[in-house]
């Protein structure tokens, strides 16, 4: 495990944890420190009478601590990992103590139990009945949504900005009742459009048309290929059984974590990890939903390489994946780049022709230079093709500072005419921009 301080700090749940974690990255704070092939552990004297026992599964980057903090990872976990990253000599290499082996064993046991749970027979009749009932509800919801969209189109969208968020929230709630959370999210995103900026009618219509394509696709699913049917169901909000999915064969590769995007809505934090498979040249998206106070399934930090087997969710253009198996790696692999924006456009065209309502993707593009044009920042490729940076991109100055006006290989995420840099390569090292 070779993580830099910056990479470790991106695991922190908030700024204060970063600060406290850094304070604890000091040998004097730890009564004992140890390391083995699979784990790190330490005892930190806190305010309690007994020192807190902190342990880290280094193969899967998982944390456990006996402190009462609800943050995850807690400051002790971060501090211990930072201390290890700063100087491994601070840790005694030895056999894991009982409290660490117990935890590691429990983790393995839990994984096995999950595997057993998968093998339990399901009541197929009840399942079919549930599915039927849900499909009926979804169809009803889709009919209402279709009428709602048509009303908007009939009356004209010019009055939309005056309607306010409630107009969209009402429809979105109705779709939640109709067990179509995906569509509800798509409707909610109409409320997030900035109606005070130029070009809002295009942004509004783009989203309306994507919703329309999803609902029409659902109504005509029978004529579509199974993989595309899956894409439609996913956009509507049908979930995939992840345990079943994990049983499918995956793709083993050394994946580079290109970037992490975090959003928070209603106490649920959504983490999006953009991955690049260094051997397969394939991109993947891992999603993690964290409900406040609960632990996380996995910890990945941008810039790190993980050797893992990923299983992709069924799709005509697979992107979203989950980790089936992960092993520790210190390997630093190479990457391939797309030559220019034209190559990106060609891939996008192919993807759009398969799934016209698709979402954004990551790309690694060769030698991009930030340039200013029409009072806006753009990314220029070696053929002078330019693509604008996302209007709300917050790290333009850091990007400029790193580039110094020189072209650099860059990982970006976005689609059509809006891209956001995730990181760049400089001196053979990947640097995250956040």
């Amino acid at each position: 495990m070779n993580l830099t301080e910056d990479q470790i700090l991106t695991l922190a749940p908030d700024e204060s944890s970063k600060k406290s974690g850094k304070d604890l990255a000091n040998p004097s704070k730890w009564v004992s420190r140890g390391a083995s092939e699979n784990a790190l552990w330490g005892e930190c004297q806190g305010s309690g009478s007994k020192p807190y026992q902190t342990q880290i599964d280094t193969a899967n980057i998982a944390f456990k601590c006996s402190c009462p903090s609800r943050k995850f990872p807690c400051k002790h976990g971060l501090g211990l990992l930072l201390l290890y990253a700063r100087d491994k000599k601070n840790f005694t290499v030895s056999a894991e103590p009982a409290w660490v082996t117990d935890w590691l064993a429990k983790r393995t046991e839990k994984q096995e139990k999950q595997a057993e749970k998968k093998s339990k027979p399901v009541d197929e009749a009840a399942q079919a009945k549930r599915q039927q009932s849900r499909q009926a509800k979804v169809s009803e919801g889709i009919d209402e949504l279709s009428s709602w969209l048509k009303d908007i189109i009939r009356n004209g969208i010019i009055s939309i900005p005056e309607k306010g968020a409630v107009f969209f929230e009402n429809m979105s709630r109705r779709l939640i009742d109709a067990q179509s959370p995906g569509l509800a999210g798509m409707v909610n995103s109409l409320a997030e459009i900035n109606y005070y900026t130029e070009g809002w009618p295009t942004r509004f219509m783009d989203q309306v048309l994507k919703i329309y394509m999803v609902i029409e696709g659902y109504r005509n699913s029978a004529d579509l290929e199974e993989s595309l049917q899956q894409d439609i169901k996913t956009r509507i909000g049908f979930t995939q059984n992840q345990d079943e999915l994990k049983e499918q064969p995956g793709i083993m590769d050394t994946w580079l974590i290109l970037g992490k995007q975090v959003t928070e809505t209603d106490n649920v934090t959504t983490e999006k990890f953009w991955l690049y498979g260094t051997s397969t040249d394939q991109y993947a998206l891992l999603l993690q939903f964290i409900i406040r106070g609960q632990g996380v399934q996995f910890n990945l930090t941008p810039g790190m390489f993980v050797q893992a087997e990923l299983v992709f969710f069924p799709s005509a253009i697979p992107l979203r994946a989950l980790i089936k198996r992960q092993v520790a790696t210190d390997e630093v692999s190479h990457f391939k780049t797309l030559d220019n924006w034209q190559s990106v456009a060609e891939i996008e065209t192919r993807l759009n022709s398969v799934v016209p309502f698709r979402t954004e993707r990551a790309f690694i593009v060769r030698q991009l230079t930030p340039v200013q044009y029409n009072q806006q920042w753009w990314l220029k490729d070696m053929e002078n093709n330019i693509v604008p940076l996302k209007t709300d991109y917050r790290h333009t100055w850091k990007l400029l500072a790193l580039s110094g006006g020189q072209p650099i290989d860059m990982a970006v995420v976005g689609m059509e005419d809006q891209f956001e840099p995730l990181g760049i390569w400089q001196d053979n090292a990947y640097k995250i921009i956040q």
């Binding site: 301080e5 700024e15 329309y212 996008e348 016209p356 100055w397 059509e416």
Partner: protein, 494 residues
């Protein structure tokens, strides 16, 4: 794409008012449009949405990035080398801690070592410098060519440009002009005054007042002609500020006027004492008759508002404050010790001592300050900053137990680190007054705490049980800040 505009215009108006015809669609879609438009099972909204969806896909699939010959002149290559990894890690910690003084400390070391920060840290430092203007020159120095380049792209950061001081004075923002004037005044006071004189006629009243305020630092007799010429200024605030400065410069007309009045008002007289067996020298204070009313317009009140001072004494005490102490040496042909002794022993002189102290501090007379500290029975805290570091330490330690808060107040204004002895005294006092000397206090004054203090923190623990836990937390905090100082020193000495 023209057709997309048609879609948007139709959507804005609504399908009740406008429809799209097949003829408006691109030829490439000619094959599909009739399938939609001629479908009797679909209403006009469905037809519009289907056509629009088709066009959306057509737009997305045919999207090509524009080609523009736009370019950006790249940043120049750096001339200095980058700071080592350890130094950069400390800098990141200091930035997280958001401590101005530690950042200032780090930047000074970086500048002295003639190294620069890595490019990714340049924007955050430039942003800090817009927040803390005093850091601008250090930040510009530590950000190298990359900082200069970013300054050209972001006007808020253009303090990192390579303009000379004079260019900046002539063309910079008012904040930049004030900063460069302040710096020039401290190293070349005459040049700073010349700059102000050159642009004086173009400044507005508020700017004039602000610039004069800066000239208060390092003022000298060479400023007198300029300041006295401001008597014709229209703005009252400008005139008042100029007069205030003139009252600080020995040899100015106003000070000469005050000296003249004191020569006429304060006399030494020998009187007999102990039934005529001995004689003693006393101070006689009496204002001359017929003082011109113009005299009182210089800011001197006629009537006393202090019961212990008569009107004459009150006027004399006000004037005395604006007369350099050296005046008394010439006037009485005595040395400072003898004069202080005279003031202390004389009933009238005693009343004038506070004004004499104010004169010592106003004219920053270190010679008188040390004599006063040694001889005075009363402790005048305002004198401490006039002493050199060693003398300040000596008197601060000596008087700390009697005036702890006053001594701390002045100790925080010092530019050099406290001695261990004084630091221990301050920490011991702070440990017992946690509300007054809280984290913010130590955060602001960490640059004054000697790093060797870390080992002494435990010794400062108060004996009172109820203070102990608070002090333990505070010690941890002080230790953390001190550790950042130590790491900074280490990073730049290796």
């Amino acid at each position: 794409m023209e057709i997309w505009n048609t879609i948007i215009n139709t959507a804005l108006m609504g399908t009740d008012k406008k429809q799209i015809s097949a003829s408006e669609l691109p030829a490439a879609l000619g094959e599909y449009a009739p399938l939609i438009l001629e479908n009797p099972a679909k209403d006009k909204e469905d037809k519009f949405l289907q056509l629009s969806a088709l066009l959306l896909n057509y737009r997305l699939c045919g999207s090509k990035p524009p080609r523009k010959e736009t370019s950006l002149a790249p940043a120049e290559a750096e001339q200095k080398s980058y700071c080592n990894e350890g130094g950069l890690e400390v800098l990141k910690d200091i930035l997280i801690e958001d401590n101005f003084h530690l950042l200032n400390f780090w930047l000074k070391h970086c500048t002295e070592k003639q190294v620069i920060v890595m490019p990714e840290l340049v924007p955050v430092l430039l942003a800090k410098a817009t927040e803390h203007k005093k850091l601008q020159y250090l930040v510009a120095d530590c950000c190298g060519k990359r900082g200069e380049w970013l300054g050209k792209l972001n006007t808020a950061w253009n303090f990192s440009s390579t303009q000379t001081g004079e260019e900046l004075w002539q063309t910079g923002s008012f904040e930049q002009r004030k900063e460069i004037l302040r710096q020039t005044r401290s190293i070349d006071p005459a040049k700073a005054r010349e700059w102000v004189q050159q642009t004086w006629s173009q400044e507005d009243a508020a700017s004039k007042t602000a610039l004069l305020e800066i000239l208060a630092d390092n003022s000298s007799s060479t400023d007198i002609p300029f300041l006295e010429s401001l008597d014709t200024e229209k703005g009252k605030k400008v005139k008042d500020m100029a007069n205030q400065l003139l009252k600080q410069i020995p040899g100015s007309a106003i000070i000469r006027l005050y000296e003249k009045l004191l020569s006429e008002s304060v006399q030494l007289k020998k009187e007999k004492a102990l039934l005529g067996m001995m004689s003693k020298t006393t101070l006689h204070c009496k204002l001359p008759e017929n003082i011109d009313d113009a005299f009182y317009k210089t800011g001197i009140d006629k009537l006393s508002n202090k019961k212990e001072l008569s009107d004459d004494e009150y006027v004399i005490s006000q004037v005395l404050e604006f007369v350099p102490p050296v005046f008394w040496e010439n006037r009485f042909q005595l040395n400072p010790e003898q004069i202080i002794d005279l003031f202390q022993k004389d009933a009238n002189g005693k009343k004038l001592i506070p004004a004499l102290v104010r004169a010592i501090t106003r004219f920053k007379d270190a010679r008188w300050a040390i004599r006063f500290m040694e001889q005075s029975q009363v402790f005048y805290i305002d004198i401490i900053p006039l002493l050199n570091d060693q003398q300040q330490e000596q008197f601060s330690n000596k008087l700390f137990d009697r005036y702890p808060d006053d001594i701390i107040q002045y100790a925080t204004r010092r530019k050099s680190e406290w001695s261990i002895e004084l630091a221990i005294k301050i920490l011991r006092h702070a440990a017992k007054n946690p509300y007054q000397y809280n984290r913010a206090f130590f955060s602001q004054h960490i640059h004054l705490l000697p790093v060797h203090m870390v080992g002494e923190l435990e010794r400062c623990t108060p004996p009172e049980e109820h203070f102990r836990s608070g002090w333990s937390n505070m010690s941890d905090y002080i230790m953390k800040l001190t550790s950042l100082k130590i790491q900074t020193i280490k990073a730049f000495t290796t």
